[in-house]
């Protein structure tokens, strides 16, 4: 059945054609090899070899074929190389590409689910709301089945499609959307006046509808009389040779956002185009007609047929019936006649033959049957069109006077719909113009202009003049007023006013009446399979407002986003509800106006990974790394319990470079720290360190760390690993507008830090520094500055893990050098590096909390058992008000330590129970204690259970197990070791 030579079935070569007959492209369609010409799209290649059904519809699984051939409708969506919902009529053929159909099983030709088409009575609009309402379980059972049966392609969740796309930013004085005659005129005018222009079009070549127009156009300023496609070439040439215009072909402007930002998708590029002025010259698209079985493959839009003939050299069928409501049908009938198609009949719904039209006269002179006052009432055929039935119309309604014609192609034109979404997204108001029979933009924002057919006027000379004027006005608004620009704009305005008035007087539009029909389906919304009858019934059910009607029927909500159906949808609902079309209004325009792959919006994923300056050593030591915020840290180098032993018995070192480090200086630095921390800092003496806790003003814990006073007006602050950016902001926020003299600098990446801890830490570090580390000279919570292995360092004597130890901060450039020096110095004492896991166990034995790990959004210092750090004797600090209130009210629960009876370790979130009722929960940090050999951790318990030695019960894997509450650290509760 299939022809399989790309040259067969094609028309004589013509200048307007895009195909390259000297290049053969071979691809696969559903396993079949297909040969195409270079320049073909998937759809043109398939049509040329006789394939008419391209997809199955969303709900009823009806056959669908080419309709618009312009990437507007959803009829030709296919899966290409695993990417679903690619529009075959836009996608160029490539050698070796694999194309598959969607939403049909077992095959496109024999889709078993097409049985649904017979059961439409059981599947009215919103049947799932009505049928699966109760019991609730029913919907749970039904929804997976319905989801499988309906729908389009399937997404490959494993594909990293984000990486196929990248994001770009573009800036322009003037962005022109649409490179048809009006858009090109606008771009030329704006660039001529001196503006930087970006011109966007969704087709590969410029010129808009002129590209497939073979009529001769004369009387245009700047251009001699020539055929449309030649004019398109001329326009493209002039815009390409003009300075200051960037052209983006194959690019869809899918949304208008605040600040005149356009979202533009161009193949793999997601472009954010910020323009100071925007000219919308997006033109219009042709609409289908509503009649019985108006979706049978072989029913095509007139412009779609013109594209097949003039762009791809394809004879669209052998015999055609044309049904039109406007002049368009005659041009297409003539085009088809010249392409060798037999024109069986032309039906015009308007009451009188348009004698003024040259194409109409030519058709009559060549003996084509032209019927005025006739409408198409049904298409015949199942797999493809075999005939058409039309009826004479009287008083705007079809009579029973019917005529049947055999044909294999039905060309329809139901008028035009302005491609106006971007205008309405930008806040422009739509208004229905009765004289033009179209919705037109009113009240444009001052930085936006409209030109061409998007204004509802379909006249080449007017479009080009509108474009030129828009371009001049856009440029003038930016101060580009080259000599003569204002005069030219005034002249254009006068000419346009006259031309538009004369155009309006000549418009003849057919009253649009759509009957719901009996029996067979007449589709309004092809994407969602919504018929005229569905809409009429929904209006009768009370959904007489277009906004609610849209949501209820889902008409206009499919992949075409209402492009094929909005006008008919509004028309039918207005007619049924007894309103005027203008009164019915339109649905709200929102981005995106064309489907955009989520991968394009997401873009490539840039997850920053931070590595400390000692990272290379960790990897050499075979560390198992973990992510801590953006940082990668060693989790452990071997068994964590062994690392704990090393620290408790000998000496260990850990890379703590990831700690946030802030340098705070200035006369008012003590006042700032006194305000943000719960503790006193003005009284902290030089060379001393104090633990600091930060609360939000509602009393909840934000972060903790150490604060060291290096000099009178100079503090060194550490924060948790992931928190430093937030804390820097926090400090600056409480400085903003206060006039305080304090300066906060984030020095995190400039300094590396190593903690040396354990009974042999003093001996290890002592080998490398001249600083006196003896217990009396360098006491707990004191600091000193000096060289370590020749590297200038800040030494902080602190005890996070509960042993004698120093945190050494030093320039990050010396990271590996100092690490090596410490490892060498500690070798004789049995030094071992330790990772975050050992650190967590060790600090847990000391009951040191990690904010936002052990605490949550409702934890405050009082219920976290840290009252000692809150100084109510201070007049004010951030969180004081809330904490004072909390203290007055008393605590309801508390974070306490617990110890299990044996080595069993509960999970995060295991409930603390009283009888069968949960009264608390285990918090994130349970571990096995190396000191006790038992499971232990933190738990939230009711205040009445928060007593030393209290027995609580924890549900672990279905068993209720006893544990003992401990308010003291399980290791060295007196804090002797870390002070030694």
């Amino acid at each position: 059945m299939m022809l399989n030579s790309p040259r067969e079935g094609r028309l004589e070569p013509h200048e307007s054609q895009l195909i390259d007959r000297n290049r053969v492209v071979a691809f696969e369609y559903g396993g079949w090899p297909i040969k195409a010409n270079g320049g073909d799209t998937i759809a043109s290649a398939l049509h040329a070899v006789g394939i008419r059904t391209l997809s199955r519809s969303f709900k009823y699984h009806r056959r669908r074929g080419l309709l618009c051939v312009a990437g507007r409708c959803a009829n030709c969506m296919v899966t290409v190389d695993g990417v679903p919902n690619v529009r075959a009529c836009l996608e160029p053929v490539r050698n070796g590409m694999k194309v598959r159909h969607q939403n049909a099983w077992p095959s496109l030709d024999d889709d078993l689910l097409s049985i649904l088409d017979r059961f439409d009575r059981l599947l009215p609009v919103g049947f799932y709301y009505k049928m699966f309402h109760s019991p609730r379980l029913l919907w749970r059972l039904a929804s997976p089945i319905i989801r499988r049966m309906a729908g389009l392609g399937s997404v490959n969740v494993d594909s990293a499609s984000g990486s196929r796309y990248h994001h770009e930013n573009l800036h322009a004085d003037v962005a022109v959307v649409g490179a048809g005659p009006s858009g090109i005129s606008a771009a030329l005018a704006a660039a001529g006046a001196g503006a930087r222009v970006v011109l966007i079009d969704d087709q590969p070549t410029l010129g808009g509808h002129l590209r497939f127009d073979t009529r001769t156009h004369g009387g245009l300023p700047d251009f001699p009389s020539m055929e449309g496609h030649a004019l398109a070439v001329e326009l493209e040439r002039s815009v390409r040779s003009m300075e200051g215009i960037d052209i983006l072909p194959n690019a869809t402007a899918f949304g208008h956002y605040e600040g005149n930002l356009l979202g533009v998708l161009s193949e793999s590029r997601m472009i954010k185009l910020r323009a100071r002025r925007i000219v919308i010259a997006t033109g219009s698209y042709e609409l289908p007609l509503t009649f019985d079985r108006n979706d049978v493959p072989g029913v095509m839009l007139c412009t779609g047929i013109q594209r097949l003939i003039h762009l791809y050299g394809i004879k669209p069928g052998s015999s055609a019936v044309v049904a039109t409501t406007n002049d368009q049908g005659y041009d297409v009938a003539l085009d088809m006649l010249e392409a060798g198609v037999r024109i069986v009949a032309v039906a015009d719904s308007r009451p009188s033959f348009p004698h003024r039209l040259a194409a109409a006269a030519t058709l009559q002179s060549r003996g084509v049957l032209v019927l005025d006052s006739h409408v198409l009432t049904r298409a015949e055929g199942g797999k493809r069109v075999v005939g058409a039935v039309m009826a004479r119309q009287a008083n705007g309604k079809p009579t029973t006077e019917e005529r049947q014609f055999d044909c294999d192609l039905i060309a329809v034109s139901g008028g035009f719909q302005a491609a106006d979404s971007l205008l309405y997204q930008a806040g422009c108001e739509p208004a229905y113009d009765d004289a033009l029979g179209e919705t037109v933009p009113l009240k444009l924002p001052s930085d936006m202009f409209a030109a061409g057919e998007v204004t509802g006027i379909h006249d080449l000379a007017i479009s080009m003049a509108q474009g030129r004027l828009a371009g001049l006005e856009a440029a003038a608004g930016l101060g580009h007023t080259a000599a003569g620009v204002n005069g030219e704009a005034d002249g254009l305005r006068r000419e346009l006013a006259a031309a538009e008035a004369s155009y309006r007087s000549g418009v003849s539009i057919a009253p649009m009446l759509v009957e719901p029909g009996q029996g067979a389906k007449r589709f309004v919304c092809f994407c969602e399979d919504v018929t005229a009858k569905d809409i009429a019934y929904a209006v009768d059910e009370g959904f007489d407002d277009v906004q609610t009607l849209k949501r209820y029927t889902t008409a206009t909500m499919g992949p075409c986003q209402g492009k094929m159906c909005l006008k008919h949808f509004v028309g039918i609902s207005a007619q049924r509800a007894g309103k005027g079309i203008g009164e019915a209004g339109v649905t709200t325009a929102r981005p995106p106006l064309q489907p955009v792959p989520l991968g394009a919006l997401a873009g490539p994923s840039y997850m920053p990974i931070k590595r400390t300056s000692i990272d290379g050593r960790h990897r050499q030591l075979g560390a198992h790394m973990v992510d801590v915020g953006p940082w990668q840290r060693p989790y452990s180098y071997g068994p964590p319990q062994d690392e704990c032993q090393a620290v408790r018995q000998r000496v260990g070192i850990i890379d703590v470079s990831t700690l946030g480090k802030l340098d705070v200086r200035g006369r008012d630095a003590p006042a700032l720290l006194g305000k943000v921390y719960t503790h006193h800092f003005a009284s902290l003496r030089q060379g001393r360190i104090r633990y600091g806790l930060l609360c939000a003003d509602n009393g909840t814990i934000l972060d903790d760390g150490t604060v060291t006073r290096l000099a009178e007006d100079h503090y060194f602050v550490t924060t948790s690993t992931a928190a430093v950016e937030t804390i820097e902001e926090w400090f600056k926020w409480w400085l903003a507008g206060t006039g305080m003299c304090a300066h906060v600098t984030n020095v995190t990446s400039g300094l590396a830090a190593i903690n040396v801890a354990g009974p042999r830490a003093r001996e290890t570090l002592g080998k490398l520094t001249g600083v006196d580390l003896s217990p009396d000279a360098f006491r707990y919570m004191r600091s000193a500055q000096g060289d370590v292995a020749g590297v200038p360092s800040i030494l902080l004597r602190i005890g996070f893990v509960g042993e004698t130890g120093w945190e050494v901060h030093f320039p990050a450039e010396y990271g590996e050098y100092l690490w090596d020096a410490l490892m060498d110095a500690g070798e004789e004492f049995g030094i071992s590096p330790f990772g975050t896991e050992a650190q967590r166990i060790l600090r847990l034995e000391k009951k040191h909390i990690i904010p936002n790990h052990d605490t949550d959004m409702v934890s405050n210092p009082l219920n976290s058992d840290m009252d000692w750090v809150v100084r109510f004797d201070k007049e004010d600090f951030i969180g004081r008000g809330a904490l004072a209130m909390a203290k007055e009210r008393g605590l309801r629960n508390k974070l306490v330590g617990f110890v299990m009876r044996d080595g069993l370790v509960p999970d995060d979130g295991d409930p603390v129970v009283a009888g069968r009722a949960p009264v608390g929960r285990v918090h994130a940090s349970s571990r096995l204690s190396p000191t006790l050999g038992k499971g232990f951790g933190f738990a939230w318990v009711p205040i009445e259970l928060a007593n030393e030695g209290e027995v609580i019960y924890i549900r672990v894997d279905g068993r209720t197990l006893p544990a003992q509450v401990t308010l003291e650290p399980v290791y060295d509760p007196e804090g002797v070791r870390l002070r030694e």
Binding site: N698, K732, G881
Partner: protein
């Protein structure tokens, strides 16, 4: 969200360079009543219209400033360094 904010230090920049800091509120005096504190902690005006709010230029000068933004249109009418607010 795609609007621009005129940072008093760096000029007109994309909103994604900034962090939103919420409505400008007045912090009660330390001895204020519980009612006043509670209102300050938890209640916001949440106007549909012009709002004074905090913004921080995270990917720029890393400074806080106050913007006057229309919450309906996302038009930023004015930006300035903060006056004595807390």
């Amino acid at each position: 969200m795609a609007f621009l904010i005129d940072c008093p230090n760096c000029g007109n920049r994309d909103v994604y360079e900034f962090r939103f800091g919420g409505e400008v509120t007045a912090r009660p005096a330390p001895d204020a009543s519980d009612r006043e504190w509670t209102r300050y902690f938890y209640l916001r005006r949440n106007v549909a219209g012009e709002q004074h709010e905090w913004w921080y230029h995270t990917f720029g000068c890393r400074k806080w400033f106050v913007a006057v933004r229309d919450t309906v249109t996302n038009q930023v009418h004015e930006t300035a360094w903060p006056k004595e607010t807390h």
